[in-house]
């Protein structure tokens, strides 16, 4: 029975006039209350689009309006003519330094903890406690982390991380201090991304590696971690985004000086022990809530922040592409939220 014989001669298509192409279903026959719901959804959707559009356009206009290339290379200067003087080189420096410190500490720590939780996790009560601890950090307001950090770094034995004041007390505020506490902010995001990625790796991959005689540690190092690299990278990018965006820790732990002030003579260490500002605290300072009161510079700096966030988002998209674990890529995973305190029966 060959294919051609099966086909036979198909009937000719119907007249064009008789053919109907159905349209999308209308809502005219729905009861009134359903139609109200439908219109509410549309209204909200349109309102959302408009608000979003307004925010984006407003920030672009205001930001680009005041943005000059000179701003990127000048140091902030305190003067009476605030709108004309000074740029934000130091805040940009500050943002980069803080992000670098925070990420450098959070990334290995976060990956390590995630690996431990996912692959070892013994004894079980300890693992659950550690999970809860990570969830606590995720849920705690950053101000609380900041004042705790201040308390810790004001201890005299940690004076090497910041400055000693004249009367012997430790200042407690420096790039080190802020960076280390920022690492705590990024930690839950990195831990979450890595754990999620590890849980998606099927067990047979691990079993195959063990069957070849590799130990668990080298399986993790050579097989598992390389395979989840994009997801870990996107988790790190999300953590960086959180670090860049936080202001509370900066205002409390970075000393609030407009320009970067190093402490002591040593080149890098002195800088890190010193105080300074970041783009976020710069925006805060120049807004009517701070003391600078030059909205133009605040807008310009805010615009730069927006661009940075945009680039980070693009990076996350490029890293995970279609394999994204959470569809809209904002790092908030259902499995993390509400799973806190698993020891409560």
């Amino acid at each position: 029975m060959d294919g051609a014989a099966l086909l036979g001669t198909p009937k000719p298509a119907p007249r064009a006039g008789a053919v109907v192409r159905p349209k999308r279903q209308g809502t005219s026959a729905w009861p009134l209350i359903d139609r109200i719901g439908y219109w509410l959804c549309w209204a909200t959707g349109i309102a959302l689009c408009l608000i979003v559009l307004w925010i984006v356009v407003y920030m672009m206009i205001k930001g680009i309006g005041y943005l000059r290339p000179a701003l990127f290379v000048e140091h902030p200067a305190a003067s009476l003519q605030q709108s004309k003087s000074g740029g934000f080189l130091d805040p940009i420096e500050g943002t980069l330094i803080i992000t670098a410190i925070g990420t450098l500490i959070a990334a290995p720590t976060g990956i390590g903890i995630a690996v431990w939780l996912s692959e070892y996790a013994r004894p079980a009560p300890l693992a659950r406690a550690v999970e809860s601890a990570v969830d606590v950090i995720a849920g705690v307001p950053s101000v609380v982390l900041a004042i705790f950090g201040l308390l810790v770094f004001s201890e005299s034995f940690l004076g090497f991380l910041s400055e000693h004041a004249a009367n012997g007390t430790v200042y407690g505020r420096s790039f080190f201090a802020a960076g280390i506490v920022m690492a705590l902010l990024a930690l839950p995001l990195i831990v979450g991304s890595t754990r999620e990625a590890l849980s998606q790796v099927p067990d047979r991959v691990r079993e195959a590696s063990y069957a070849l005689g590799k130990s668990r540690a080298s399986t993790i190092r050579c097989v598992l971690l390389p395979s989840i690299r994009p997801d870990v990278a996107s988790g790190i990018a999300l953590g960086m985004g959180r670090i860049i965006g936080d202001t509370a820790i900066i205002t409390i732990l970075l000393g609030q000086t407009l320009t970067t002030q190093a402490v002591g003579g040593t080149p890098v260490l002195g800088l890190l022990r010193g105080t300074g500002s970041t783009l976020t605290s710069y925006v805060f300072y120049n807004s009517p809530a701070g003391e600078g009161n030059s909205p133009q510079k605040a807008y310009a700096a805010a615009f730069v922040l927006l661009v940075i966030v945009l680039l980070l988002n693009a990076l996350v998209t490029a890293l995970t592409g279609g394999r994204r674990l959470d569809r809209l890529g904002i790092g908030a995973r259902l499995s993390l939220i509400g799973r806190s305190f698993p020891w409560i029966p």
Partner: protein, 326 residues
């Protein structure tokens, strides 16, 4: 020979990573203990009325800062009610508003929006979810607050309360609106994600039974997405609770208990939530009574965050019965 090396390597790796995890646990445990230990003096000298009303918060804080106790009270005297009330108001109002808007917007995004709109809106929402809170604060204080000040607060209204407080547009309404705008993108993202993963057989089955699209959305899709809605609400509330900088910029900065009995003026009175207070009083951390008070506020925030997580977990339990997993 190789297996033994692998085994010790394994043990070493486990011990190192485990030590890391335990170190984190100790750090967080230490943080919780430290905060409560430092907060204790403030709680113990005020008792439960720490949470109650009693005088102007700002005067109390100034008194502590200058080390001159208020007449008739100890140096630790503090009544946090205006701050707690401010926090409750801004958080609850913002979350309720955002929940309503986000659910409708998420339904719009997944069910009704035409494809080109959806393609543009998704990355934009993702962008907004990542925008730092200072930027929102900036928009709030430079755009929204003056707008409210000019158009919605009349001079007569200002005069009616001028003896107590200044109305200048940085107030409850601005704070609530900006806070709601800030937490909406995250909620929309989470809820839309859950709505999109409602299995097609359920939606098709509902359509085949003669139930129109809207009712299908309400009775099947939203029900299936309920864990996500709960999770989104918990996340949003946590963010609203902990938002310090943005609220310090737009909420008005005065520790004033907005009075609903003032009628519409209530909406325009300044508030100062708990987290914002910590930021604004951070200079005082070196002065003992002020430090205790600030840690007490931090302790309240910690406990609220914990209760929030627990509430989120509890709200999801009944749904697991019917096979809705989050």
């Amino acid at each position: 020979m190789r297996r033994r090396t692998g085994h010790t390597e394994d043990k070493r790796a486990e011990r190192t990573l485990g030590a890391l995890a335990v170190a984190l646990l100790l750090l967080i445990g230490g943080m919780i203990v430290t905060v409560f230990v430092n907060a204790w003096p403030s709680f113990s000298s005020n008792g439960l009325s720490w949470f109650g009303p009693g005088g102007d918060v700002d005067t109390q804080l100034r008194a502590m800062q200058e080390s001159t106790p208020l007449p008739g009270h100890s140096i630790e005297y503090f009544r946090a009610w205006p701050l707690i009330w401010g926090t409750l108001l801004t958080t609850v109002l913002a979350v309720v508003l955002a929940l309503f808007v986000s659910t409708l917007a998420a339904v719009f995004l997944t069910e009704f929006a035409p494809q080109p709109v959806r393609r543009i809106l998704e990355p934009v929402i993702r962008l907004l979810a990542g925008v730092p809170s200072v930027v929102y604060g900036l928009i709030g204080i430079l755009a929204l607050a003056p707008f409210i000040n000019h158009h919605w607060i009349s001079t007569s209204r200002k005069q009616s309360v001028a003896y107590v407080v200044q109305l200048n547009g940085a107030d409850l309404t601005t704070a609530t609106v900006i806070l709601a705008v800030m937490i909406t993108p995250i909620m929309v993202a989470l809820i839309a994600g859950a709505l999109a993963s409602v299995p097609l057989p359920w939606r098709e089955g509902s359509a085949a039974l003669g139930v129109n699209r809207w009712r299908t959305i309400v009775r099947v899709s939203l029900r299936t997405a309920r864990p996500a809605i709960v999770a989104a609400t918990v996340l949003a509330t946590a963010r609203a609770l902990g938002e310090a900088i943005m609220l310090a910029m737009v909420a008005g900065g005065r520790g004033f208990a907005a009075n609903p009995l003032d009628g519409l003026t209530f909406l325009f009175e300044p508030v100062r939530p708990l987290a914002a207070t910590i930021v604004q009083e951070q200079e005082g951390l070196s002065i003992a009574p002020l430090a205790h008070t600030i840690y007490a506020i931090a302790a309240v925030l910690l406990v609220s965050a914990a209760l929030l997580s627990f509430a989120g977990w509890a709200a999801k339990q009944p749904l697991k019965r019917y096979g809705i997993r989050a």
